[in-house]
Symmetry: C2
Subunit: 664 residues, 2 copies
């Protein structure tokens, strides 16, 4: 077979060593090796083939996911893969399925909330997959507000059991992945009631289906909630509903690490600190940030390669047209997303460190940094997932009409990614949590309690409230101190303005609810500062590899100056920069685009994605787009026959003017 | 059957007459009557049922579209519907199919570019649908740049024929709707070559398939290009590819109204002015703007009703929770979109007038207003379709997790709508056309040639360059003159800044390409001014109906002040407003949201959409969302059986720890 590389010229232009950049992107040589091996393992295994997902029926797609999931589990065992390798293998499988919830939610919930005894019993079953579990929290009428859940777990002292019940239709569990058709067990959340008293929402382990024949147990109504966004996407997953009709479970299936119910029905809190729960949230959300960079990088990789392949306009003499990537409008939309992918990668790396740090402190009963860590991960989850879902759609548009083809990979990526804006905390609700934390921090300024971690800059409020940017020429916008100060001034001034406006209200809660929109903007400004500052810290540190640091610096300042332009209203209205300085920033941005241009294709090669994982004809490594688009088209079921099904019944009678007599 | 209306309270709150608003939304009582009748005709006809589209295979969906299309055509004939009624009926059918291209592109192309003789021959066949036509312009490697098309039509004087040929794979026609499986004919575009000379791209009528058995004619390769974004959406349409292998057509099938080829092979331009072609573009694009308001209104209707039904948080005592629509964050995202839907409606109405005006002038050979009309429709097409596709996705997010369900109607609406950002001119390319026109207008200021129409404000450049906004309190932001001046100052100053920056380049084209991103922003500012000014003109004019005008004024100023906030960087950096004035605008905006709140549900009722057309469980008129979500879920094929297909092969061996021996 002829080997072509339509992008060889682009690759030759690169001014840095791609292999070195791959290590930086992956985080370490070890992480690169694991990713590289696992992605190739998946790519070379025909069971993981995924190009026909769009034309599979719901049932076929679901069954195909079962097949892939079980095959993945088999490989993990046969090849004795480590946890890290197994996780990577599953992520490269790239098809949502029950393994995600079993390993990502069910097992961690038992680990986090179960007593040692409970862990021993249930984890040994779960880790061998003798049972399959899911995580059933949200209800049909209750998503974000966990405290509003309606399902009840009433203790019956006569039988030493909890009676789990769904009192209304809106109390039906709704959405949990793996619940609809697969899971044998679930961790479910319900209001605990003992002696007529409501103790709020607690977790319980519940068996849903018979381990013999998989039929739902009496008292359990369970099923799939139906089709979701996209052709493939989450339609591979059996997101489910679940209703209980006075369903009984033994008392010891309440997850009792934090609080328990005694044989007599007494509710007793344990001395295990509740803050541990937040530790888990920090973990889950840092992994969501890491996934954001992965998803955005996929979209950017596709759009960048295709922008280098595609040519439009620019020829007035019938000669070769201009590569689309050479247009400033394209660069102006694409390169900030490329920079964002790297930015989210590095902030995700830092969050991993933060999680380790928080865990160590929690183990030593040091809860001081937890609120800040919690606000910071909530905010970054919100900010990076919103930017990523918008960014994927923007990349699709950057591919012109062909981005709308399923085989571009972008519709699938978008449909499968967008729920990240809603699950694990709606993005707007999360930003309000950040805002609450910021308001509290502002109110404590001057109280002697110095803000720490990502809010440390607020300790310099006096300076930041009165400083003015020293930027005098475009080059100054490559000065890390000047860039940071502009972002710090903007974030602090927005927070302080919100706090001042809040103080004008007699009722704080009413003020908060009146100013919600402003508070969200202040929280966003704070989160963007975090990402910018972590990116700057990264590029100011040691980075190995020929030319690598220079490229990352370019991306870092593209990211910062693009945000400055996008949120110019914030910067100008807080006087953090002047219109003239903003104009210099744009000038610098254009210069940075020109510097990134010859490196763009190599910068997306550094993600080390296989063509199989990318799943995009437009994003192929070799750029051999057009012949492959034809090949894909010919596979469509509509092309099975030259004369389409329906010709005799509809088309022929129409053009033969016999439609009145045709069977319609 | 019990009649419930969970939204009755909301409807009782409204401070205006909804029936009167329906007339204003529709444009006239007549237009309302037609829409109302046609939408009910479709809603009550079981053939047009569409709730199962998401679970249909590609072939089923395609056949279902044939059935609906032919049924629609049958109704149009049997009921002797007018053209206006037929168009409405087809739009309420709400499923892309070959009728759209036949009537929307094939017939108009012949009307616009065919000679009278050609029209007589082909239109009589086409209007009776004895032939089915499509419009084949774009090629695999050539979308936006029509002049880059590769297909050739070479005149052969020996046989008096054109030889149509696809010289490369990238020259394959690609994307035309209705081409893949249905059309018997096409208007195709190819480079005309006579006597070895390339005369550029011209249109030709080509028969593709046999009228006897529908098989492609010898020399024609045609098929479907495969799956596209979404479950249903455009997968109902046979977008196709088409290659010619020295395919011959008679000379008289070149569309010869503007230029012709004589029997001898001489290329002759006619005296019909070429500008007529632009008249057609104005028509097509004004209808796209009108469709934008329709689509955005659908999404807003769904999100508004569900935001009134849905409750989250706000109860600290286990009581009833707060309606989501009462949160300022929700209002801050939703109400500007509601206002945008109305804004686009009215600017669409005005564009309809503009098209009539341009047509009249063209008939009188007055081409003076054409460039301005062309730029204006290009810009508005771009701006309204971008805002609408973003707005639909925002509405989906505003519905929380359930917005991700296919039965929310929003994924389908998004997937079917987004191509509007690309077809009929990529949105960024179009804004650059606007920018070019603006630069030309600026360069002619002071030359004595007064700018007219939507650029008339540029004639007041002297004033607008030095004026400063007189806004002193929040109320001033309801003053039409002050709002307009702020938008005019911003647009003009951005255009003038671009022009000044351009003049610094020695090479104008190089400057233009360097400043593309700024030019797009200047064009956007100009287009937003147009929409704001037309909305203000509407609400300052006569409007009948109890309370109607007050509501529209509120929406008008929400639209303007929301744009001001969103693009604050523009307004501040051009000194069109001060930070203090911007803060007053936000204050006014919050007050307007409170005024719209009690009217929100009635304002979306005014769109008069049937539940069938909306196609959304969340957007149901009666608000009876939750029981219906269950009903929809139960229809999913996965719920056909309690034990899923795949249990024996995959799940059982897994939990029985026999996966090593299972067939995997």
């Amino acid at each position: 077979m002829e080997r072509v590389d339509h992008l060889a010229d682009e690759r030759n232009k690169a001014e840095f060593n791609v292999d070195d950049m791959k290590i930086v992107w992956a985080g370490s040589r070890h992480a690169f090796d694991v990713s590289n091996r696992m992605s190739r393992l998946v790519a070379n295994d025909p069971v993981f083939e995924k190009s026909k997902r769009a034309v599979m029926s719901r049932k076929e797609l679901f069954k195909n996911t079962l097949r892939k999931s079980v095959h993945a589990w088999k490989l993990i065992n046969e090849l004795r893969l480590s946890d890290e390798e197994g996780l990577k293998l599953r992520s490269f499988m790239d098809q949502p399925g029950f393994l995600d919830l079993h390993w990502g939610m069910f097992v961690p919930a038992i680990k986090g909330q179960g007593t040692e005894e409970q862990q021993q019993k249930w984890l040994s079953l779960a880790t061998k997959m003798q049972i399959i579990g899911c995580y059933a929290q949200t209800e049909l009428g209750h998503g974000s507000n966990v405290q509003g859940l309606e399902t009840t777990a009433t203790f019956d002292p006569k039988t030493d059991q909890f009676i789990i019940h769904s009192p209304t239709q809106t109390s039906s569990k709704w959405w949990p992945g793996g619940l609809g058709k697969v899971s044998t067990h679930a961790v479910i959340y319900a209001r605990l009631i003992t002696n007529g008293k409501d103790h709020g929402v607690h977790g319980f382990i519940v068996q849903l289906r018979s381990l013999d024949d998989h039929s739902p147990l009496p008292g359990i109504t369970v099923g799939d909630i139906g089709m979701k966004f996209g052709n493939g996407a989450y339609n591979s997953m059996d997101n489910g509903f679940l209703m209980f009709d006075h369903f009984r479970i033994p008392r010891d299936q309440m997850l009792m690490r934090l609080s328990k119910v005694t044989r007599e029905g007494k509710y007793v809190a344990s001395d295990v600190p509740r803050q541990l729960v937040y530790g888990t949230m920090v973990y889950v959300r840092q992994s969501i940030v890491s996934n954001a960079s992965t998803a955005l990088a996929r979209a950017v990789c596709i759009a960048t390669r295709y922008s280098a392949v595609r040519r439009q306009f620019g020829s007035h003499d019938g000669g070769i047209e201009t590569q689309v990537i050479d247009y400033k409008t394209q660069q102006n939309r694409l390169f900030p997303l490329l920079a964002s992918a790297y930015a989210f990668r590095f902030v995700g790396e830092w969050l991993k460190w933060l999680y380790t740090d928080v865990t160590k402190r929690l183990e030593a009963s040091d809860f001081a940094t937890l609120p800040e860590a919690h606000a910071c991960t909530a905010g970054l989850k919100s900010m990076t997932t919103s930017a990523t879902s918008d960014g994927i759609e923007e990349c699709r548009k950057l591919c012109g009409g062909h981005g709308y083809l399923w085989c571009s990979g972008l519709p699938e990526l978008f449909a499968v990614y967008v729920p990240a804006c809603t699950y694990e905390g709606d993005n707007v609700v999360l930003q309000l949590q950040v805002a609450r934390f910021l308001m509290k921090t502002v109110s404590q300024l001057g109280s002697g309690k110095a803000p720490s971690g990502t809010t440390a800059y607020m300790g310099r409020a006096k300076h930041l409230l009165q400083c003015s940017s020293g930027v005098r020429n475009a080059r100054d916008w490559l000065n890390p101190g000047m860039v940071l100060e502009a972002f710090e001034a903007r974030a602090l001034r927005m927070a302080v303005t919100c706090a001042n406006n809040l103080s004008k209200f007699e009722n704080q809660e009413q003020g908060f609810s009146e100013l919600l929109a402003d508070l969200v903007e202040a929280a966003t400004a704070h989160c963007q500062l975090i990402v910018v500052s972590k990116f700057i810290a990264k590029v100011e540190g040691d980075i190995e590899g020929k030319g690598v640091k220079k490229q990352l610096k370019n991306l870092c300042y593209i990211y910062a100056l693009y945000l400055l332009h996008k949120h110019l209203g914030d910067f100008l209205s807080t006087n953090s920069v002047t219109p003239e300085q903003a104009s210099l920033a744009n000038q610098q941005l254009r210069s940075l685009y020109s510097q990134v241009r010859p490196n763009a294709v190599a910068l997306v090669d550094a993600f080390d994605y296989t063509d199989q994982y990318l799943g995009s004809v437009l994003g192929r490594y070799d750029g051999n787009v057009y012949p492959k688009l034809f090949e894909e088209a010919l596979k469509d079921p509509l092309n099975d026959s030259v004369i389409p099904d329906g010709y005799r019944e509809y088309i022929r009678p129409l053009i033969k003017q016999r439609f009145r007599s045709a069977k319609l």
